[in-house]
Symmetry: C2
Subunit: 336 residues, 2 copies
């Protein structure tokens, strides 16, 4: 391994001068800098980041903990965050929690995460009580829906608005029996994504003058399979559905497939609206109407929050929540 010492010897200067060159410090003569850079190139030197981190007490790394990156939404999210983190001089490391509560806790406690400067946590299973663990001096931003009574930096999207947009849109397109897949009712004090989107969905129905039938809101796994099986089950019980709101695009894709397998045409027999507006939505047949969150604004907010926190440019007791706007993008799956 080549060290700064080696470079210093080769260039005939001290280690400090090498360090100054490596870190672009101003007070180095051009000639000296050139000598050092030549020595670095000749020896193939690379700074040892472990040593640098140990000395500086910072790593330049932010961890993003998500349930699985193998989901269109998280892939998109990670892409945006990596780009923005890089712009602020940080590397982003992706950690998978598999949506398990202990893995999420682990993510907070794990040494490697502690060996980063901050944590962006897409927490789907953490409880309010767990959040105590998130406290202390370590910079953490929660991304996504949970009801936390504790003060926290938090970035969410307008889930209720999105749900309401979906049901009102379907009602406007003439639907009268509208179901929701991937929604949860009966947990008034829990504010996870499925509850919030369901709440907005029901409110939208009422606003459109339709009955808010909680029996038509079904909780399913937010996967292709969940959407597929949920639709099959729903159709087995009620055969007169003419509108379907799915809590995520992935669920919607499974649902559309199930509708087609049951001989129902989209949008002619059943109109469908998804949520997330993942890139594939416009290439499906039929293309998928979806609630589009402002991913870019949310990514900006997340990075700004965590970096400002890391760099100490924010009041330690000032916690913020940013809510990303949503809009409805109409495509064929709900068109007249």
């Amino acid at each position: 391994m080549v060290t700064m010492q080696d470079v210093a010897h080769r260039a005939g200067v001290s280690v400090m001068t090498v360090s100054n060159v490596v870190n672009d410090q101003p007070h180095v003569r051009a000639a000296t800098r050139a000598k050092v850079l030549a020595a670095i190139a000749e020896l193939g030197y690379h700074v040892n980041t472990a040593a640098r981190s140990l000395r500086q007490g910072r790593t330049g790394v932010i961890v993003l903990a998500v349930p699985e990156i193998d989901r269109p939404y998280f892939g998109l999210l990670a892409t945006l965050l990596i780009e923005r983190a890089a712009a602020r001089g940080y590397d982003l490391v992706v950690e998978q929690t598999a949506a398990a509560r202990d893995r999420e806790l682990d993510a907070v406690a794990r040494s490697r995460l502690r060996s980063s400067d901050g944590l962006i946590m897409s927490a789907v299973q953490l409880h309010d009580d767990d959040v105590g663990l998130l406290h202390g001096d370590f910079p953490i931003v929660i991304l996504g829906e949970r009801s936390f009574t504790q003060p926290l930096d938090h970035v969410v999207m307008a889930n209720e608005d999105g749900g309401a947009l979906a049901s009102r849109h379907l009602a406007e397109r003439g639907c009268r029996r509208i179901a929701m897949l991937g929604g949860r009712t009966g947990a008034p004090h829990d504010d996870d994504l499925t509850t919030l989107r369901a709440r907005g969905f029901l409110a939208g129905l009422v606003a459109a003058g339709l009955a808010a039938d909680e029996g038509l809101v079904r909780s399913v796994a937010l996967t292709f399979e969940g959407g597929y099986q949920g639709t099959i089950d729903l159709l087995a019980e009620t055969d007169d559905i003419d509108g379907l709101f799915c809590a995520t695009d992935v669920v919607a894709i499974g649902a559309v497939r199930a509708l087609s397998d049951r001989g129902l045409r989209v949008p002619d027999d059943v109109r469908v609206v998804g949520f997330d507006d993942v890139p594939i939505a416009s290439f499906l047949t039929p293309s998928l109407t979806s609630i589009a969150p402002d991913h870019a604004a949310m990514a900006d907010a997340v990075i700004a929050m965590i970096v400002d926190r890391i760099e100490g440019s924010r009041d330690p007791h000032d916690y913020r929540t940013f809510t990303g706007a949503v809009r409805l993008v109409e495509r064929e799956s709900s068109r007249a």
Copy 2:
């Protein structure tokens, strides 16, 4: 910050004992261990991984450099690799290279990557000449197709076999004018994925007794848009295509959409085969016939190669290539 010193004081032992407890070393009495663990919990101690890395000369981190994780194939890949790396005691860090050659080179040279124990590189733009940079003592495994004359650890899939499976399958289903999207011809010495799949595709046509028309092999961006536009362009020139092989499922999804926009039915008018067998394939309408690589076996091979290399359990001059098998999964897009 809490250090081992602090824990040692609190527990009334030496730092070495704390270190031994933290690292699960055997020679610690149960009572001592309990005292130490209690002190750790009380103080909220976490090992400083920078210090550990500096001391040990290893980081426990493997970097996976991919063009973009926001693509189904790479998402799937990352998920599998993360799991297997963890099983061998390594964390996997995902780095995006945006499929740019300088970014890929950068990925090799960058200090943070040098601050990992090894690099898994899904290299789409590196040239043979660049590979010199990959050499030296640093453990690197190349994942995916490039023609390298230099000795390297390399994991690929049977791309030519896959291409041949696709064209023979389409021929068996009665297609006579079969095109390929996302293939490249005329670069006999380049062995990237698009060239290999095209080569196999043409060979399969010949094997099936059909003419191998290179004019029907089109190079397109391996994206939804690439597949869409490529199909539109193709149909503008030739209107009698009855079979279409796409170099990736993503391209196929764009292509199916374009066919539908041009009033052609899949599979009735045009049969379509993709490549990668991404999870969404079976939920599309029509579901997508695809060449399915043995992702799991490839992930196993990659991790085994890199970890064995890192841990020095392989001859430094013994470089290997692993080729993952492929099979055809027939679904509606090509069914009779």
